[in-house]
């Protein structure tokens, strides 16, 4: 640490340059991770925040709500299966709403209608207003982002391409589905909207898209065997099955992976060049008795100090960026994610400094005598 800090202090400009590069890399890593997190939240927060453990889909639906249709009476059968604690059906459909009678572009808003049993474990807690009731089917609770579109408690809006009107009785938070605000309706109302066309319900009584299960260690294979035409998956798999979710996440993850790999190389090369420039100094110190461990520790602790401070600056910049980002931007910083990536960056830079440590151990102290015989 002694040598490391003395050198940092003496060669500020040189270390500032590499610190700037490191700060930019960490900044980009955090922003990308925030964007990835924001996008996946937007795509599936309703699913992610749901109190369900398993999801029963129609067989062959690839764990996707939009491809799955099941008869409602399956709910009763599922409730009797081993390890199942609670069961609740769910249906989803994409729609758009019109504010009043406006024809302006900005007054049409995309939403995802999610039909659930009022009072079931699928119903999110309201942060404003009241929850769903079975008595009044057209009363709905909606995600609070709809406030930004100008909707208020008690507003009634019409669904585009339908005669149905819905009234907002409550707001919930962190409920988005397929990148748009979730609107929770009683499941009977959802059936009215989703199966407006005769025959679209395949003739099922009380059709649903999927059935959510609560319970630990449910044997999905056993369920699949016992109930023909069903496919039970974990909630995480259901999130992956959302249209576009895997692709979207995959893109971000690939960018992050490349960024991390590139930064490992860039930093490694920088540290290596630094070390090479100091070959003579290291040789002198070895000649007067410094061991490889002493010099290696100096290099690694220097990289550690440099990396840690760059990462901290990167985090500050990222939170600063988040503060001035437009509200509609799908950007969400998760402290857990930020600390994970900080740790990954730190490990990467320390690993890349090991190449330099190896170089040091190969320096011949004889060189310090000014000639190689």
């Amino acid at each position: 640490m002694f040598l490391a800090l003395k050198e940092l202090k003496h060669n500020k400009a040189r270390f500032l340059m590499i610190a700037i590069i490191f700060v930019l890399i960490s900044w980009l890593v955090f922003i990308l991770s925030g964007l990835g997190n924001g996008l996946s939240t937007l795509a599936a927060s309703t699913f992610k925040n749901m109190q369900a453990d398993y999801v029963v889909f129609e067989q062959g639906s690839k764990a996707s709500m939009s491809k799955s249709l099941l008869p409602g009476e399956l709910t009763k059968q599922l409730a009797e299966m081993p390890n199942v604690k609670a069961v609740s059906p769910m249906g989803t459909i994409m729609a758009s709403v019109i504010k009043g009678k406006s024809t302006a572009n900005e007054d049409k808003v995309d939403i995802a209608i999610i039909g659930i049993d009022p009072g079931s474990f699928l119903e999110p807690a309201v942060i404003e207003g009241t929850g769903l009731t079975s008595d009044n089917m057209t009363q709905v609770i909606v995600n609070n982002t709809m406030k930004d579109e100008g909707f208020k408690l008690g507003d009634t809006f019409q669904l585009d391409g339908s005669t149905e009107s819905l009234t907002i009785t409550g707001f919930v938070k962190d409920q988005t589905y397929n990148h748009v605000a979730a609107v929770f309706t009683p499941i009977a109302e959802w059936r009215k909207i989703a199966f407006a066309a005769p025959g679209s319900d395949k003739g099922f009584t009380e059709p649903v898209n999927a059935i959510m299960l609560q319970g630990d260690d449910i044997d999905s294979n056993a369920l699949n065997k016992q109930l023909s035409g069903t496919d039970t998956v974990t909630r995480a798999a259901a999130v992956q099955g959302m249209p576009g979710y895997k692709e979207e996440n995959g893109t971000i993850m690939m960018m992050l992976a490349f960024l991390l790999a590139i930064s490992a190389f860039v930093l490694g090369v920088f540290f290596y060049v630094f070390t090479m420039q100091k070959t003579n100094q290291f040789g002198i110190m070895k000649a007067i008795g410094a061991k490889n461990g002493f010099l290696g520790k100096a290099v690694v602790s220097q990289v550690f100090v440099l990396s840690l401070s760059s990462i901290i600056v990167g985090i500050i910049l990222t939170y600063g960026t988040a503060a001035i980002m437009p509200k509609g931007m799908p950007f969400m910083l998760d402290p857990k994610l930020v600390s994970t990536y900080s740790f990954v960056l730190l490990v990467i830079s320390l690993l890349s400094s090991l190449v330099s440590v190896r170089t040091i151990s190969k320096i011949d102290p004889l060189k310090a005598l000014g000639r190689g015989e």
């Binding site: 003496h10 060669n11 070895k286 007067i288 008795g289 410094a290 061991k291 310090a368 005598l369 015989e373």
Partner: protein, 231 residues
């Protein structure tokens, strides 16, 4: 126990293609504490190989090197580092200081290599530097020092761990005559007052008057020379 440095019939061979080149050929020398020895000779004569072998930087192919009575020819790399750190003080050519350490830290880093720096160490370093006339330069960096001051810092660094043997490699290479005399007389003074066994390899034959004995190196062979014959 014998103190100082004893080298007994040491040889060092290099293989160059099919030929075997001997850089050191059956060299024996004994340096007692308090003695200041010079080794002169043309370049390529094996002077630096000799110094490297004496300084635990290079292992002899044959023969025995005893530092303070301990045979160092069979030690491992880490043990050799320890020997260099504690038993040997190197004075290298000018500019071989660590560029980002001030004069005082140049000395303290030697202590850091083997652990913590105590206040006593610090006081010793300051005293040493004052003795060598660097009392006002404690916080200066090498780039702010003159050639003579750099070399005096190197002398202080070599003495920091209170080693038994001092090895100087062309310590006056980049100095003018006045500074060269100053530096070598300082080395001679420290060697005698602190009772060190010292060897200086040099080209500069003007400085041999400071030495007790002068050896001449030629084609890997070391022989005692008469100072008068050289001067």
């Amino acid at each position: 126990m014998t103190k100082g440095l004893q080298i007994t019939s040491a040889s060092k061979y290099y293989n160059e293609g099919l030929n075997r080149i001997s850089a050191l050929d059956n060299v024996s020398i004994e340096v007692e504490p308090g003695e200041f020895i010079a080794v002169v000779g043309p370049s390529g004569s094996g002077k630096s190989t000799f110094l490297s072998v004496a300084g635990a930087l290079l292992k002899a192919s044959e023969g025995e090197v005893k530092l303070n009575g301990q045979d160092i020819s069979k030690l491992s790399g880490n043990q050799l580092s320890d020997i260099r750190l504690h038993e040997i003080g190197f004075i290298m050519q000018a500019s071989n200081l660590v560029p980002y350490l001030n004069v005082l830290d140049q000395l303290l880093v030697v202590k850091r290599m083997s652990g913590k720096v105590s206040t006593a160490d610090k006081a010793f370093a300051v005293k040493l530097l004052e003795e060598l006339g660097l009392g006002t330069k404690l916080k200066s960096y090498p780039e702010e020092l003159s050639g003579g001051e750099k070399q005096r810092t190197a002398i202080a660094r070599a003495l920091m761990n209170d080693p038994n043997v001092i090895l100087a490699d062309e310590p006056t290479a980049s100095l003018d005559t006045k500074r060269a005399h100053e530096v070598v007389s300082l080395i001679a003074r420290e060697v005698r007052t602190r009772h060190k066994a010292a060897i200086m390899v040099t080209h500069d034959e003007r400085l041999l008057t400071y030495c007790d004995r002068v050896y001449r190196m030629e084609d890997g062979k070391l022989s005692l020379a008469k100072v008068e014959s050289i001067l």
